[in-house]
Subunit: 226 residues, 2 copies
């Protein structure tokens, strides 16, 4: 079997498990968000701010992926929500089977919103459906405004860009309008939020974005069959 056909088979099997997960999430009314970024763009910091700011009525949980270490789970556990580390042991992305196993380890807890923090990699995670409601790409301004053009697949498949570290804008060469234009060029319908996980700027907008997504998901569930 050729390299391409093996890859196709792996992706097909992944998609099958991802569709099962998606059905399960929808049946239980879980909003699942798959966070993708380069290493160090601020996925874990965004989750720290998020878990610290979520309304208490929301039941959240986190599956956080890394090649090695459980540093991220340690950072996120103090917020009082269930957090599980997925250590991929070399793999450059999460796949649906890892998420399935992570979910099992969470047991039968009721969840409103599940955050999946992918491995730090702006390329490979985009190819693996995890059954999420949507992908979100975190881009830090220190990475440069050209990144949507250079790594288009992740931006095409994401519903939202969280543009992080805007507190560093005075110190780096980053053209904000051009970054927005580049993101919209590869994906015209993409939302863009500007935040700083260091100062907390933009966190209200982000929490409102999550809330709107929860609302849409709920409305879909209560609508009568046509």
């Amino acid at each position: 079997m050729s390299r391409v056909s093996v890859k196709r088979k792996v992706l097909k099997e992944n998609d099958r498990i991802a569709e099962e997960l998606r059905s399960r999430f929808r049946a239980r009314n879980v909003l699942t968000l798959n966070l993708i970024s380069s290493p160090g763009a601020g996925k874990t910091s965004l989750l720290e701010r998020t878990l610290g700011g979520l309304p208490k009525r929301l039941r959240a949980a986190v599956l956080t992926g890394d090649i090695e270490t459980d540093n991220d789970a340690k950072r996120l556990s103090p917020f009082g929500y269930p957090v599980r580390q997925i250590t991929t042991g070399g793999s450059c992305h999460l796949d649906a089977q890892m998420v399935e196993r992570g979910l099992s380890s969470l047991g039968d807890q009721e969840i409103d919103v599940l955050f999946i923090e992918n491995v730090g990699n702006l390329v490979c995670p985009a190819s693996f459906d995890l059954g999420e409601e949507c992908k979100i790409v975190v881009l830090s301004v220190t990475e440069g405004d050209d990144k949507p053009l250079k790594y288009p697949a992740t931006f095409v498949k994401s519903d939202l860009v969280v543009l992080n570290k805007i507190d560093l804008l005075p110190y780096v060469s980053f053209d904000l309008p051009r970054a927005r234009e580049n993101a919209k060029r590869v994906h015209p319908g993409i939302d863009i939020l500007e935040v700083s996980c260091t100062t907390g700027q933009g966190m209200d907008d982000w929490l409102r974005w999550i809330d709107r997504r929860l609302e849409s998901a709920r409305q879909r569930t209560v609508q009568p069959a046509p």
Copy 2:
């Protein structure tokens, strides 16, 4: 054929081509450096500073890899050295065959030092030997001091960490001694240089590092057979 055995076969074929390239580089006394980093850590900025600062006697050339766009080749061409863009069309890393083709497109020019700028990805490029003399990992301080522990393979296989963007240290939470300690923990013999491609700080050390490597390569060539 299973996924693992296909991957093994692909890597074996890659290694065969990489070894041919390495023999060719050594026979012609070309020092080849494979630059790896996350997206936006500053590989292209480092090369801009490098090409601008190299002694004129040195004949340099660049192969620069990206999934999409030829932005990097456009940035590096004005320095007057031969530069070729390798666009991988989706692949998350360069492989030896792409380097072979890139070299052919450079023709028969004499080269002392060949810079290969890999695709922005801290994971997958580490698995693909390109026939280089050594790998170099560029890590920016905005990414966090824990990255050597989280992405060990790239640090284990690299001879040097170029710690970039140290001009941003006052504005980010980055523990320099801890970063050094983490890099040395996964690879005790690794060299570490602190630089800023924005201010130019540390560029002399980096050019001296290249010069020492050129010297070692030359000495190996002129030594009589035992």
